[in-house]
């Protein structure tokens, strides 16, 4: 997942300021219109009349009136200054979006088939949401979802199995950044390249409320993927509107819906009065009456605006971490499902191959990850003990045996490598994309390596071409970063290190044992057995072969006023459950 926040904005500005002044135009202030969403359900009007005629009926009246949000209510208005920092969102349509920022809005507007329950962060569980039940056959190649009775969109349109079929066909048609996920489904690849009109793997039976999905290849984590935004249900209005849907007064089946068309400056969400409640049967009656997302063109401005009382939260700019920790509540303690690491190219003679295993292990053990975290990131990251972070089902702590800073072990391994005939014929390049904040990390690593006698040098690449160069085979020891698209182990192991991904996102690791373990795990439906297999594959990657060097895991980056705002939490996917937030009077 791409996080669009940028902190180096002012650098770009300096370049831009050379060419700018103002131009002419007509008096047409930015649109936002006063059109109201097409909700006004019967229920609401009933309640308001009940309210005005007052105490006609006894006991059940109070319960109902608590539902009417907007009635000078319990909720209040939440002004978000921390989600859209830098740019307004490009897309708001679940079929088109590929950023975490816009997913914050999309996830509030739509509910998917499944949801990840992070109640126990150590072992997150996939739970049904709009689905009543989720089942698969033995090898995970056919998945059956039954849809909850009474599921509906905020305009009252019923949600049934065919809703999902139509929504998924629409997503394939719109061909957004994530549409390649449709290739998981039988016939999805043909649908995407235009050789078929529908995806043959989807069968919807509205009479039995059953959605049956046949996959292209067995995949036992499809239940997690099915809850991802690309697979959200959309109403008929969205299917009619096509790609224009996101510019309309968007609504769905989630706790919130848009109040008016989005503008670059503001996106406003108001409660969906037809929403039934989230998983575990909770309805969050006191939820916010409105959430206003205000675009901040600069991270420091956003933080200043928050401190000036103009909003309820902010994205913490790197230089303000300490200030935020001292003065505000933050989500800095939440681990986010992303990994910052270095990858090694097995095909490079200086570092790859069995002969250099001990050299790689020495390098990984010699790096002081704590020092990197405190010196470069002000302690705002979590020091890695593996590639796959906490929050991914199957995660196990301390998996990596060469990730702790252990000079003695590192020196020993290096000496053994030398004794076995290893010779360095020049400094090893440590590669990274320039001007993206990685210079100090690499500088510390080079110092660390020098301490045990390994020569290394920094090798910066232009940011724009960095990843394509790596995919072209330029990697020796190269920096990489990855945010999970959906919380599965394979989103790391398969997408980054499987030989299928070689010269895509895999920069040079080919190992039959590893591939076999990942392939088997992807087909294993028993979660415990699957976790075991994935852990074994990561063990091959980090311990037996040491082809990747984990550095740290990302953490949350919101500050908020804890005296006023309660239940503001970021899930490991980075998402905020807006419906759970309450404001103090």
């Amino acid at each position: 997942m791409n996080n669009t926040r940028r902190s180096t904005k002012l650098l770009a500005l300096a370049a831009a300021s050379a060419l700018v002044l103002v131009a002419c135009g007509s008096d047409d202030s930015t649109d936002s219109g006063d059109s109201t969403p097409t909700d006004t359900v019967e229920e609401t009007t009933d309640e308001t009349t009940a309210d005005t005629t007052d105490t006609t009926e006894g006991d059940d009246a109070p319960e109902e009136t608590t539902d009417t949000a907007g009635e000078g209510g319990a909720g209040g208005e939440f002004i978000d200054l921390g989600t859209f920092v830098g740019d307004p969102p490009e897309h708001l349509d679940p079929a088109l979006n590929s950023t975490l920022d816009a997913y914050q809005v999309i996830n509030a507007v739509y509910d998917g088939l499944t949801e990840i329950d992070f109640a126990d962060p150590a072992s997150p569980a996939v739970v049904p949401l709009v689905a009543e039940t989720v089942e698969s056959n033995e090898d995970g190649s056919v998945w059956t979802f039954t849809i909850k009775e009474g599921a509906q969109f905020s305009d009252g349109e019923e949600i049934n199995a065919s809703t999902f079929q139509n929504s998924w066909e629409r997503a394939a048609e719109l061909a957004g950044d994530y549409s390649y996920l449709m290739t998981f489904i039988d016939g999805g690849a043909e649908r995407l390249d235009g050789t078929a009109d529908t995806m043959t793997g989807i069968e919807a039976d509205d009479a039995t409320r059953t959605l049956t999905v046949t996959l292209d290849a067995p995949y036992s984590n499809f239940d997690a993927v099915a809850g991802f935004q690309l697979f959200f249900p959309v109403p008929q209005a969205a299917i009619d509107a096509g790609a224009e849907w996101e510019n309309q007064v968007m609504f769905g089946n989630g706790p919130y819906q848009l109040e008016a068309e989005r503008s670059d400056e503001e996106i406003v969400l108001v409660p969906n009065e037809n929403w039934q409640g989230d998983f575990n049967g909770e309805t969050w009656d006191g939820k916010l009456d409105a959430i206003v997302f205000r675009t901040q063109t600069d991270p420091d401005t956003g933080y200043n605006a928050f401190e000036a009382g103009e909003g309820d939260n902010a994205n913490i700019p790197p230089g303000r971490i300490q200030d935020a920790e001292e003065n505000w509540s933050t989500t800095l303690d939440t681990s986010i499902l992303g990994s910052y690491h270095f990858v090694i190219n097995d095909r490079d003679e200086r570092i790859g191959g069995d002969a250099n295993l001990k050299l790689r292990q020495a390098i990984s053990s010699a790096i002081d990850r704590e020092e990197i975290n405190s010196a470069v990131y002000n302690g705002s990251r979590t020091t890695s003990t593996g590639i796959v972070p906490e929050g991914i089902p199957g995660f196990t702590p301390d998996l990596c045996e060469y990730c702790a800073y252990d000079l003695e072990q590192a020196q020993g391994l290096y000496d053994e490598w030398v004794a076995e005939g290893g010779v360095q014929d020049g400094p090893l390049p440590i590669q990274f994309n320039a001007d993206a904040g990685h210079e100090p990390v690499v500088a510390i690593i080079i110092d660390n390596l020098a301490a045990i006698g390994i020569q290394a040098e920094a090798q910066p690449f232009p940011s724009e071409t960095y990843f394509s160069e790596l995919a072209g085979g330029a990697c020796v020891i190269c920096r990489a970063g990855w945010f999970a698209d959906y919380p599965t182990y394979d989103n790391f192991m398969y997408d980054l290190f499987h030989s299928d991904a070689l010269d895509g996102n895999n920069y040079g690791f080919v190992n039959e044992e590893f591939d076999g373990l990942v392939d088997e795990a992807k087909q294993t439906t028993d979660k415990a057995a699957q976790a075991e297999l994935f852990q074994q594959s990561e063990d091959v990657l980090l311990n037996q072969q040491t082809m990747a060097i984990p550095i740290n895991w990302y953490r949350g980056d919101y500050a908020y006023d804890g005296d006023r705002v309660s239940n503001f939490t970021q899930t490991p996917q980075g998402l905020i459950f807006w419906e759970q937030i309450t404001l103090a009077e």
Binding site: M1, N2, N3, R6, K9, L10, A12, L13, A16, S17, A18, L19, V20, L21, V22, A23, C24, G25, S26, D27, D28, S29, T30, S32, D34, E77, I79, G86, D87, P88, E90, A175, D177, Y180, A243, E259, D264, E265, E266, V268, A290, R294, Q296, T297, T301, G302, N304, A305, E307, A308, E310, P462, S463, E464, T465, F467, G481, W482, G504, N505
Partner: protein, 340 residues
């Protein structure tokens, strides 16, 4: 005079063509292809399938001369193209954002004229007074502080600090945006805010944008006025027994204004240039912050389209300044008329 104006108007065409073409080519000389950036950005490995989709969607694999030719063909038919980033038409972005930039620029210009001239005039008349010395130091400092630093300082002084001190709402200015959440800003006569709340959003960006120009205008006004005050005809006026007020306003000001007016006109280009920084620092939804975004995202159509509009306006302002200068100073006018 008419032929002078027509000739200058025609000159705008090659100016715009060269400027925009230059930008177009610069973008292609930069490393990396836009598709990679649109797909991923610097902090993540982009998906190869995505890159291919984007390349095809925007015709990025066409040879550069084909893309170049197509671009100009569309521009001449009034279509500035589609944003890579948002899929919106650049024309609609222009119509959306330009009014906000013009409003801010008008206020900055107003501050520059009123404050700059008043301060310059005062310190010229009260030469070597404490106020004059303060002005000299103050204007030098102001023109040396980078715009975004000044913006952040003002934000802290007039918004963050008052809020932390718990001062009443009306004493706290705003740092971010053009109007309060969930309100549509309304303008009287295009540029005058209609509510007290709206003023609080306008004050800081307007002052920030005006800062450097105001300092320059004040210094220029002071220098020019001092020169005029020392002129022979001023001594003559004094000898005639006119009041100081009539001497300064009636005789001095008119003559001293000439170079100042020219400066203000020419400086408008620079003022509007610093709007990129000001708008970004205050999340002001104008052209400047949009172009800055687009440069960062390598959103070529937006950068080109908005720059094109800017170059046209800048050329027109230049022309206006030249014409008014000719009008003020007959020597220039006659010289221009003599040219074949």
């Amino acid at each position: 005079m008419t032929s002078f104006i027509i000739r200058r108007l025609l000159l705008i065409i090659p100016t715009v063509f060269v400027a925009v073409s230059f930008l177009f080519l610069i973008f292609y000389a930069l490393p990396g292809d836009p598709a990679t950036l649109i797909a991923g950005g610097a902090d993540r490995n982009p998906n190869p399938i995505q890159i291919q989709q984007i390349t095809e969607q925007y015709g990025l694999d066409d040879p550069i001369y084909v893309q170049f030719f197509d671009y100009w063909k569309n521009v001449l038919s009034g279509d500035l193209g589609q944003s890579f980033q948002q899929g919106r038409s650049v024309n609609s972005i222009l119509v959306d954002k330009a009014p906000n930039s013009i409003r801010l620029a008008m206020w900055a210009l107003l501050i520059e004229i009123v404050v700059g001239l008043a301060v310059g005039l005062y310190s010229a008349i009260r030469r070597y007074s404490v106020a004059d010395k303060l002005t000299t130091v103050g204007t030098a400092a102001l023109s040396a502080i980078p715009v975004f630093v000044l913006g952040f300082i003002l934000q802290y002084m007039f918004a963050v600090y008052p809020n932390k001190q718990g001062w009443p709402e009306w004493m706290r200015l705003r740092t971010s945006g053009i109007a309060a959440p969930r309100t549509d800003e309304q303008w009287f006569l295009f540029f005058i805010p209609t509510g007290p709340d709206q003023w609080r959003y306008l004050v800081l960006p307007a002052i920030t944008l005006a800062s450097v120009s105001t300092a320059l205008a004040a210094r220029m006004m002071r220098g020019s006025m001092l020169e005029t005050l020392g002129a022979d005809y001023m001594r003559t006026a004094k000898a005639k027994g006119l009041s100081e007020r009539r001497i300064v306003v009636g005789h001095g000001l008119r003559n001293a204004m000439l170079p100042v007016v020219t400066l203000i006109g020419l400086d408008l280009g620079a003022t509007i240039g610093s709007a990129v920084l000001t708008e970004t620092v205050f999340s002001w939804p104008g052209l400047g912050s949009t172009i800055a975004d687009a440069v960062g995202n390598r959103d070529l159509p937006v950068v080109l389209g908005l720059t094109l509009a800017v170059v046209v306006v800048y050329s027109l302002i230049n022309l206006f300044v030249d014409v008014s200068y000719a009008w003020f100073d007959p020597r220039v006018r006659l010289g221009a008329g003599d040219e074949p």
